[in-house]
């Protein structure tokens, strides 16, 4: 083995654990926390947009309009670098969580709203005919069916989010991509190190795709009529 390839192999093996550690310590929690909070926000936003109380629908629509109409990178910069001008100082990690949560909330709300609307009107009527209230019908009858419809598109958002968390590097979170940059700066082998970073993202996303299949199988126990 030539000296050069031996050196590359060393760099690869030496950086694998630090990269994986950065991924597990930052990328994974950033993704999980933001997605969980974002999903809750998405559900509330979807319900607000479907509400008969117009001002609520309008506020939710405005929020979705802002988030979808501006770059995520810009939103992160405003939260982390911009808000301190107003005296609002947020640490890097929570700032990133806020940015990603708002993003998942906006895009996810459209997925959930579409899923709710796709459930046939007869399902609402059957629930009402039993004497259920709107909230009971929503919780017991409509949302469980909407959840099934939402799994594939929400999984897409989830997997996108794993990769979007690399943007947190720009607000000084030492997540996976940032760690890759640091290692590259030290050893100057960008092709090798960034490919290795890509490999770790691939591992994360592959695990998630497997989880998605499990979830779809769970929902396949019934078929919509």
């Amino acid at each position: 083995m030539s000296d050069q390839s031996e050196r590359l192999l060393h760099i690869f093996t030496d950086s694998f654990l630090p990269l994986l550690r950065a991924g597990i310590a930052f990328t994974v929690p950033l993704t999980l926390i933001s997605f969980a909070l974002g999903l809750a926000l998405a559900l509330l936003t979807a319900l607000a947009r479907l509400s008969e109380f117009r001002p609520l629908a309008w506020v939710a629509g405005f929020y979705v309009w802002i988030i979808r109409g501006t770059p995520l990178l810009l939103q992160l910069f405003i939260i982390f670098y911009g808000l301190p001008s107003l005296g609002i100082l947020i640490d890097a990690f929570p700032a990133a969580v806020i940015g990603f949560t708002l993003s998942v909330g906006a895009y996810g709300s459209e997925i959930i709203r579409a899923a709710i609307v796709s459930i046939p009107k007869g399902q609402w009527e059957a629930a009402y005919a039993l004497g259920e209230t709107r909230l009971q019908a929503l919780r017991r009858i409509i949302l469980p069916q909407a959840a099934r419809v939402s799994v594939p598109p929400l999984s897409n958002s989830f997997i996108s989010l794993v990769k979007d968390t690399s943007l947190a590097a720009t607000v000084t979170v030492t997540e996976l991509f940032q760690k890759g940059q640091q290692i590259t700066a030290a050893v100057y082998e960008p092709l090798l190190v960034y490919s290795e970073v890509g490999l770790i993202y691939l591992i994360f996303c592959t695990v998630l795709a497997a989880l998605q299949r499990q979830l779809e199988r769970y929902f396949d126990r019934y078929s919509s009529v």
């Binding site: 007869g122 005919a129 039993l130 919509s224």
Partner: protein
């Protein structure tokens, strides 16, 4: 007893019901017939407040509600009236994510707040009554149309309604499945359930009805015992409708 007075329903400019009066004694069966668009389904849906009537009074069992064109009825009043009747839909509308048993337990659990064990026992009893005790754990998509509709009937009965409403319960079924559903409804009639049935099955209507009502253009054309309405109709419009229906079935 069921009492409806001056019931009207308009969708925008279109009047679908133009002042319906009807009285139904406890334990009797009223069959509503009429051409499509005559307002039969709307009448049923108004009694269940799936459509909010424009004006008129509806009294079922202990609940009584007066509707006015200028005021939205209070939700509590709507729920109270709605809980007096059970609805069987043309397209069944079973909850696809629930088993047959869970479909029949749902209203008991959420609306009547029956303990789970009790709700399950009663649901099993109702499924047995419609001949589906052995399919309790099946999901709707695993059942035939006739079986789904029988679960729909069990579900409607699960909340102990004063009145059962059937909105063309066999119209979505293949002909060979119609019989099993009609058999269940016939048995309920013999038990003395108070029922209102919209149907195109004239032979069945004649057998099961205590009274038949012909609706056309949102108004009652004629109402009476089946022998009279089918054999000696008073109105020309009734004769015309019946001869059209008879032509179609031969």
């Amino acid at each position: 007893m069921i009492e409806v007075r001056g019931l009207t329903k308009a969708f925008g400019e279109t009047s679908v019901l133009r002042g319906i009066d009807l009285t139904l004694e406890k334990g009797s069966v009223l069959v509503v017939i009429g051409p499509s668009g005559s307002g039969k389904s709307t009448l049923l849906r108004c009694l269940n407040v799936l459509e909010v009537p424009t004006s008129g009074t509806v009294a079922i069992g202990k609940a009584r509600l007066e509707f006015r064109p200028d005021a939205k009825p209070r939700l509590a009043d709507v729920l109270a009236l709605r809980r007096q009747s059970g609805m069987v839909f043309q397209a069944y509308h079973l909850f696809p994510h629930f088993t047959a048993l869970q479909n029949v337990m749902e209203g008991q659990l959420t609306v009547r707040r029956t303990p789970k064990r009790e709700a399950r026992a009663k649901a099993m009893q109702l499924l047995a009554k419609v001949g589906l005790a052995d399919r309790a754990d099946a999901y709707p998509h695993q059942l035939s149309g006739g079986q789904q509709q029988r679960v729909g009937i069990a579900r409607a009965m699960s909340i102990d309604p004063e009145l059962l409403l059937f909105d063309e319960p066999t119209s979505a079924l293949d002909p060979e499945l119609v019989r099993e559903v009609l058999k269940v409804i016939r048995e309920l009639a013999e038990e003395g359930r108070t029922m209102m049935i919209v149907t195109h099955e004239m032979k069945f209507a004649r057998e099961v009805a205590d009274r038949v009502m012909l609706l056309d253009g949102g108004a009652v054309v004629e109402e009476g015992p089946p022998e009279q309405l089918f054999e000696r109709p008073r109105e020309a419009r009734t004769r015309q409708f019946l001869s059209l229906i008879m032509e179609r079935s031969f």
